[in-house]
Subunit: 319 residues, 2 copies
């Protein structure tokens, strides 16, 4: 038994692999099971059960080799993030769209269709949005990243309908607080405005304080990604795509949480220089979703943003 994680060296991928190695995930990965991380970078930890393959997800030969008869579950997390996909259209198309198809083709060659959990994003939405996004709202991406994710969702849907794969698409909320460094995602600030001040560093908030964000903590997202693989595919019906639960928070409320938990001094480290490029992308995303179906299906959700900040503070102490 084998689980393939594309993007296994990334932020979510490496955390997901660590979670899959815990005893609580024995149902997904029994004791004798192995994990293969496929990424341009090496899986950052040592574990005898994890094989770190350095390779390009868009390479058909590589995927044909890695998705084999042992492969029961594939987590597809490798991606070029939003800011980068907007700046380099061709790279985004190749990694976010073409590689997904290459991966699906590799799954299709298997006698038994593997379970595939694909990480999509709320960036598929845009335009005039209802206050709360219903399950059947049409994607209207305002970034190439969003368009590529939306096309990949359709691919996973059709390959699943055909029985080539047993797909589950999770549209992830924006993740906050993401540890580490800022990245090229347009939403990078949604972690930066908490993470940097807590570490005593300056940070900038490039969007208006009224901006609503749809957020999830890393722990909740990882738990939900595990749950997605455990679901009975039939329970999803025709709609293989789920808006994962999140909480709807205004940027101003995030900074209030920061101040409540870390004081005025921390709050004062956050500047307010607007960045129209980031504002255009982020403000085109929805700030709230109808999550009745994912909750019924057993996905989890964070309590509130204070809890998210507190969890990050606990995490900092462990480092």
């Amino acid at each position: 038994m084998k689980i393939l994680v594309t993007g296994g060296a990334g932020f979510l991928g490496s955390r997901l692999i660590q979670a899959l190695l815990q005893p609580e995930a024995l149902d997904l990965l029994p004791g004798h099971g192995r994990i293969v991380s496929l990424d341009l970078a090496p899986y950052p930890y040592e574990d005898p059960r994890v094989e770190s393959v350095i390779g390009d997800i868009a390479d058909p030969a590589c995927l044909a080799r890695l998705v084999d008869a042992e492969t029961t579950v594939v987590y597809h997390l490798a991606a070029v993030v939003s800011g980068q996909a907007e700046a380099d259209f061709d790279l985004g198309m190749r990694v976010n769209l073409d590689a997904t198809r290459v991966l699906l083709e590799a799954c299709r060659q298997r006698a038994k269709a593997p379970i595939l959990v694909f990480a999509s994003s709320l960036a598929v939405f845009g335009g005039e949005l209802p206050d709360k996004v219903p399950e059947d709202l049409a994607p209207l991406p305002q970034s190439s990243y969003g368009a590529q994710k939306a096309m990949a969702e359709l691919l996973v849907g059709d390959y699943s309908r055909k029985g080539y794969v047993d797909g589950r698409v999770c549209r992830l909320p924006t993740i906050s607080v993401r540890p580490g460094k800022p990245n090229a995602a347009a939403s990078s600030f949604a972690s930066g405005i908490i993470r940097e001040p807590l570490a005593g560093l300056p940070s900038n908030c490039p969007v208006p304080l009224e901006t609503r964000l749809w957020l999830s903590s890393p722990d909740t997202v990882i738990a939900n990604l595990l749950h997605a693989a455990r679901l009975d595919g039939q329970a999803l019906g025709l709609r293989r795509t789920l808006n994962l639960p999140g909480i709807s928070v205004r940027v101003g409320q995030m900074l209030d949480s920061l101040e409540r938990l870390a004081g005025l001094e921390a709050r004062a480290r956050v500047g307010d220089e607007p960045d129209p490029r980031i504002e255009r992308i982020v403000c085109s995303w929805p700030g709230d979703f109808d999550i009745r179906r994912p909750l019924q299906l057993g996905f989890g959700v964070d309590r509130d943003f204070d809890a998210i900040v507190a969890a990050h503070q606990r995490f900092m102490k462990t480092q």
Copy 2:
């Protein structure tokens, strides 16, 4: 000035080219303008202003040559129809998805983005459908054809947002009455049950009489495709995709029209042997749409199904 029509040898493509050659279309194709038909088959008529290129739409070199600095408008109609795309998944992906991307790439290379009118289909929809489909309903394709069209729509949308092309996506209703022979489209019967009896031939209705269809006559669709190229791209806002107007008719009502206009004898030529494969596909499509926006934008619509049958009867007399 040059207009490229992919699928120019097909049913709609050849009619569209004839319409573009009329004096009423001089605004789209001035007297000195030319039309290039790109199709696996030759354009079926002779006209000094039409160049018939026999080639594969998925061939990048061919498209790079045909989309040149003179090309002001591209009509993208070449496709593998629903029944065939379901039977041959790879062919459908290549022609309906990959070739659309090849075409968009060719447009992207031009200094001035050409207008692109892309023929999509109501087959992008499926699953539980509201009685009347709103503009912002999410596609949930129940056929590979529908999935491929939905992905191509997203491509056209993102290439338009990037300014690589000035795209307009028209989701065509099912066309009835389509002259000629039955084809591999799952909706082929929607013409057959009128066309064959009017010609004295037997026909079969493979779906229940209550089945609602969303229909347009060929003439109305052609007029709407001309209109799509005339529109100011700005008027479309962020939403480049339009559900073209149609009329919502039950199959039983279609047969009533047949009987009204051609007598009981004609009606009696239509059998009722169910075909679950066709029923599964066709009954997953919506039967009615909210068309306020396309009507406001100036698109046209047929009066009722009697008018459509009468128009086909007039057409038969000209043959």
